[in-house]
């Protein structure tokens, strides 16, 4: 055991690995100890899918700082590619992986030129990409079935199959999130987020690294789309590629806590729960509720729900390192709030 610990890189403490493995084992083994009703473990599977998607969105939006309002494009591509392959008789895992890879390549196609843009320009470009994709895909009825959509063959397999498979995906994505955040590679992302030109001036190949993040993000989004398609056994382009879906990913990341690992997981969980509870009674309300939540969060706690947790932890004596604060938007939890009123020109040289 000690030998294993010594082989771990310095940024990966053994306690993290242990917590991760134990946590995974517990959740995985749950069905053996508690008989979970179908609705509940179905909901959990859904939650796992969206947690993975939110984490993947966050790699681009939170780690590198390029907020995308068009991630549904890759989610949808993954879903339909996988669905078509399954209908043609391909094995399950193969179809899913293919969906992920095609989505990743698609992401790279539009992403490589647009990632050069910073901040709002990239964001608006992604809205454009997302909407253009939706329109073209809806038009491409032979692939997506137009407004009637595509039905998938019902999969055999154990009752808890989706639960376990989605959990495995989530585990992989959480692990990847940790690596992408804490490793030296993650440091380059943060540097790119802070000042992409200065990063290049010390040797960081920003273009290639951003491409890498987008590729990985697209891969996972595509996988999530594929799993989602298999779970519901029916998809249509309006829903898969819709602006609302892209919005959903932004919300999960931003409300949960942009740039953190816990954040998107929390955000996704909350969104799925709210959606399930509200969708019956107030179908159109929850989006507005989230809008309100987003506004409040930006104004008062930019690190979202995980920021609130951080605040609570600090009250209990926990002192986060500066880099924890660095993960998200400049959080008022970690630093003092600067006087925001007035033409807030963000100074490059902080006052001495």
């Amino acid at each position: 055991m000690k030998a294993l610990t010594e082989r771990l890189p310095p940024w990966l403490p053994s306690r993290v690995v242990i917590i991760f493995l134990v946590g995974f084992a517990i959740v995985f083994a749950l069905p053996f100890f508690l008989p979970i009703p179908e609705t509940l473990h179905g909901l959990m599977a859904q939650a796992f899918i969206f947690m993975s998607a939110a984490l993947a969105w966050n790699w681009l939006g939170g780690y590198v700082g390029q907020v995308s309002f068009g991630h549904a494009a890759m989610f949808g591509v993954g879903g339909f590619v996988s669905a078509r392959l399954l209908l043609a008789g391909a094995p399950l895992i193969m179809a899913w992986l293919a969906g992920g890879v095609v989505a990743a390549i698609y992401g790279l196609l539009w992403g490589h030129p647009t990632l050069r843009l910073r901040g709002p320009y990239f964001a608006i470009a992604t809205i454009g990409v997302g909407e253009a994709t939706r329109l073209v895909m809806t038009f491409w009825t032979s692939f997506t079935g137009g407004s009637t959509g595509v039905s998938l063959p019902i999969q055999g397999g154990s009752q808890y199959q989706m639960y376990w498979l989605t959990l495995e995906l989530l585990a992989g994505v959480v692990a990847a999130s940790y690596v992408l955040r804490k490793s030296p590679l993650g440091l380059s992302f943060l540097a790119i987020k802070e000042d992409v030109e200065a990063a290049g001036d010390v040797g960081v190949n920003a273009s290639s690294y951003q491409d890498l993040v987008l590729f990985l993000s697209g891969l996972v989004m595509g996988l999530c789309g594929a799993l989602y398609a298999s779970y519901f056994a029916f998809i249509n382009p309006g829903d898969m590629f819709g602006f609302d879906r892209s919005i959903g990913f932004v919300l999960m990341g931003a409300v949960g806590g942009i740039g953190t690992i816990l954040g998107p997981v929390l955000g996704a969980a909350v969104l799925v729960i709210i959606q399930e509870t509200l969708i019956a009674s107030f179908p159109d309300l929850y989006l507005g509720l989230y809008g309100l939540l987003l506004v409040l969060i930006i104004l008062f706690e930019p690190l979202g729900l995980s920021g609130l947790i951080l605040r609570a932890a600090r009250l209990g004596g926990y002192r986060p390192s500066a880099s924890v604060a660095a993960g998200g938007l400049s959080s008022s939890a970690a630093k003092g709030r600067s006087p925001g009123a007035g033409p807030g020109r963000v100074l490059k040289e902080p006052p001495t």
């Binding site: 310095p10 030296p184 380059s188 030109e197 990063a199 010390v202 880099s323 490059k348």
Partner: protein, 275 residues
């Protein structure tokens, strides 16, 4: 001394404006070359071209015989040239140590994340006098501290050539002397060749082996500090009558008070006392 970094007929035009106009330069191995000139002369633009931040409109740059003009900034860094910025640009939400680590990891073509990376970064922080600030944020440093951080980060990329853009500007005389000594040490102890843009005359004249003068995009003089200081064209364009009168006949390179090593560490400690 052999030529390390050579630029031939470098021009950079922005539309009709000739920011840099057919400038030749030649940096020898182990040399400190000063780059001076009035505001708007094109010095920072020339740096930007050298460092790969912007491509030249025409001209060639070679490092050790290899042509590098038009290369993107990160590739130029990997080849061995690193620049600092006139207005310091630390990574604001990374700690001081992490800032230097970025340079250490990514300064060469392959990511250097060997176990000794952290020690190397700490060593650099010690060299510039910031090791006790390593877990803090750049915003908590004084301006002099942030300038030292920028130098440390650049050094972490293991450069052969360091381009310093007004590294002494905005500092009080004590801080400036400290940083100047640091620069001399960089050349002496690490064998790095340096080109420095500077307006603070005592610093650049005291440190440089040779000086190059730009005015309105063109090179108007080159030589030892003394030669340049007494050059009629330079005096006319830049130095002004007062300096010329005061210094006529004296050798500016004897301004040693600005460059002794012992001053560096004293000033370094004073920097840390601030904030």
């Amino acid at each position: 001394m052999s030529s390390l970094l050579k630029g031939e007929l470098i021009s950079k035009h922005f539309g009709g404006l000739k920011a840099v106009d057919s400038v030749d330069f030649d940096l020898n191995e182990g040399e400190i070359l000063g780059l001076i000139g009035p505001n708007g002369a094109g010095k920072t633009t020339l740096f930007a071209v050298m460092a790969g931040s912007i491509p030249p409109t025409s001209g060639r740059i070679s490092l050790d015989g290899k042509f590098i003009e038009g290369w993107p900034a990160h590739r130029v860094v990997h080849a061995g040239i690193c620049r600092t910025h006139q207005l310091v640009r630390p990574f604001a939400r990374l700690t001081v140590l992490e800032n230097v680590l970025v340079g250490r990891y990514y300064g060469k073509g392959r990511i250097r994340r060997d176990p000794s990376a952290r020690d190397a970064a700490l060593g650099l922080l010690e060299f510039v006098g910031l090791d006790d600030r390593r877990e803090g944020l750049p915003a908590q440093l004084t301006l002099a501290g942030r300038k030292r951080l920028e130098v440390a980060r650049a050094l972490a990329t293991d450069p052969r050539v360091l381009l310093l853009d007004e590294v002494v500007a905005g500092l009080n005389p004590t801080e400036a002397q400290g940083l100047s000594s640091l620069i001399r040490q960089v050349r002496e102890e690490r064998g790095i060749s340096i080109i420095m843009i500077e307006h603070v005359m005592q610093a650049v004249m005291g440190l440089s082996d040779r000086v190059m003068v730009l005015d309105e995009g063109k090179k108007i003089a080159e030589g030892t500090p003394e030669q340049v200081a007494n050059n009629a064209e330079v005096i006319k364009a830049y130095l002004g009558e007062d300096y010329a009168k005061e210094r006529s006949g004296t050798d500016p390179s004897t301004d040693r008070e600005w460059s002794s090593p012992k001053v560096s560490r004293e000033a370094g400690r004073d920097d840390r006392a601030g904030s």
